[in-house]
Symmetry: C2
Subunit: 425 residues, 2 copies
Amino acid sequence: MIITANNPDRKSWLQVSENSDFPIQNIPFGVFITRDDIITIGSRIGDFAIDLGAFHQLGYFEGIPLTEDIFLQDNLNDFIADGRKTWRLVRNRIAEVFDFDTGSLRDNEEHKNNIIFRIDEVEMLLPVSIGDYTDFYASKEHATNVGSLFRDPENALLPNWLHIPIGYHGRSSSIIPSGTPVRRPYGQTKPAEGTNIPGFGPTKLLDFELEMAFITTDANVLGDRIPIEEAEEYIFGLVQFNDWSARDIQAWEYVPLGPFLGKSFASTISPWIVTLDALEPFRTDNPKQVYTPLPYLKQIGKGSYDIHLQVGIQPENEEETIVANSNFKYMYWTMAQQLAHHTVNGCPVEAGDMMGSGTISGPTKDSFGSMLELTWRGQNPITLKDGTTRKFINDNDTVIMRAHCKNDTVRIGFGECIGKVLPAR
Amino acid sequence: MIITANNPDRKSWLQVSENSDFPIQNIPFGVFITRDDIITIGSRIGDFAIDLGAFHQLGYFEGIPLTEDIFLQDNLNDFIADGRKTWRLVRNRIAEVFDFDTGSLRDNEEHKNNIIFRIDEVEMLLPVSIGDYTDFYASKEHATNVGSLFRDPENALLPNWLHIPIGYHGRSSSIIPSGTPVRRPYGQTKPAEGTNIPGFGPTKLLDFELEMAFITTDANVLGDRIPIEEAEEYIFGLVQFNDWSARDIQAWEYVPLGPFLGKSFASTISPWIVTLDALEPFRTDNPKQVYTPLPYLKQIGKGSYDIHLQVGIQPENEEETIVANSNFKYMYWTMAQQLAHHTVNGCPVEAGDMMGSGTISGPTKDSFGSMLELTWRGQNPITLKDGTTRKFINDNDTVIMRAHCKNDTVRIGFGECIGKVLPAR
């Protein structure tokens, strides 16, 4: 099926500013609540939110096999479970109806009033009910930095890292949509030298982790695996992801079973899921892999995407300072490799599962994806525009992440992934 | 509220054999499918399954505030979310109606035909839709054994272990009900000495882990914590749990982020949730803790339960051999401590979440909860009744776990937690 929604020449009758993340070629999916307290699934063009529940009820999806209430839900899980063919039909139809030359909705004021909202009139909610959430550790630069900081700079990468897309199970219940404040967490920390009493209190080393995450559809049943060449069929789309981390809590708890409370206090995702289809024009190679992967992990063709990533810190009532610029293409392991690996043991992957990339650090010092790496564990504090310095994140700081793709004709973005840190209770 | 359901003197008009795990004092909750393909929530007395959907429809819960369809569901989540007061009213009422001296249902043949099934006429399903699943690592003997085997017998326990109920996030989607076959998983293993090519194939070291797990109700919202003195209020009940493990896959993948595919191929739970209320008569002290825990972890009163645990291995068409006898009371960290710890950072715990104890090993060699420990990594194979030996679990072996409490008057049990290992595909 041709992804006509991606046609770079198309313009919409809805106004879209030049640098918008949401031209008519994007057509992401999300869930929002309107001023009238109605929860619905929607899309976005420019600064307009499109109520797909109303759009469907008014007949604009005629001819596409969809259940009546598929968009009148508080999460996208059922729609995602419908599969790629349906996603394409729906995205193509939305593009058609909002095409500059299509009059059906453009010229119907009553319908427009029912379907279209200004983006500041709606509140974005979590787009999916996340069943299982896995976080990978797939940036070689990040793994090398962390290995150098905490273990041995000479042997920074652990022996398994170049052979396996290392990942771990994360906590779903603490995943929140962009804009939800993040409370500085309490926790246990390592006892002071020579004592046997652990520390306890609000984390002193609150950090962000710059990540992307993909959302899957139903992929396999228990005991089956997903061949790598089919893996992308089961990826609905991506969000930007801030995997907030309390470094002191994490350092004390994580051996031998991995990160736990140092991560599970909050994980922020951007509210619009940008489909893998929309990202297709920005496909690129992943970095050359040191060892030839085992056959089940062998990437065929370009497996990454050229997505520019940015992190800013904004102290309260002050200007934002950009502290990092990275790119999704730096990921050593592709999403297809991750999904093939995740299911090689027969583990079921379901609609609404989320898989994080792990912190995305690039090769240069200004492209690292966490304060831990940017300040080299606090040794090189960052000076913000207001003159204050940061080793980690302070109370009342807002961390803002952005992600977008751009070529000569189109810019496809994710909007913002924002969280303000509130003081500990 | 008095838990009249626990009255040890009560007898039922349904026949219960002397060593049954399910006397009228148990009244567990589960989900089953009847011969007529109807899925319902139910309970069990002796070898009879009680359809609580029909029981409710026929008016036997009159006076208890329950929604009409609360038991006509394929999981217990909504009922669990109703909270402890409702659970008690429901259990007390069931005990009353099935009391030897109560005639309302006993003497109504039509109602009995609608409500009561022989246990072999129903198929048990997963009792809850498990949102997040956490596995702890709370047996000191197990952690010491594993530390001795893989690290240093002189410093077997890691520095954090005596201060924190160590846990990690597990995979929910691979949790299956007792009876579901377990396919031997494929996976990567450590490269042979001197090579850089990892092994790949079916696991050679398939193991069980003898655990119990508790199911929670909605406990806290993001940013709040559960004080330890309230923690048990949020525990609905327990199941027995076999955390199947592929030791060779696990050993290669788990540093530094913890167990992943070595566990996520299958985790078996017993199908009846035995309520914490039913276990109340078997409350006991947990082991004395080496260090005084931090205040948020300070156990008040008896925090453990005297639950006898057993593991058997049954080769195909052969007799079962009991290979381990342990007890839940050996757990160093209590469930209340685990729940208080899990939420101290503000992580939300919800209805249907599951928390495993971690492998429960006792102080003696025959009380270890895994083949890894029982055979000391294969050094001391176990001889089964049929004369064959086991270092780990073979294809077509069935692993059977059992759990029960017993005092002078009552035996409360969990039935069986069974899985047969099928050869790799």
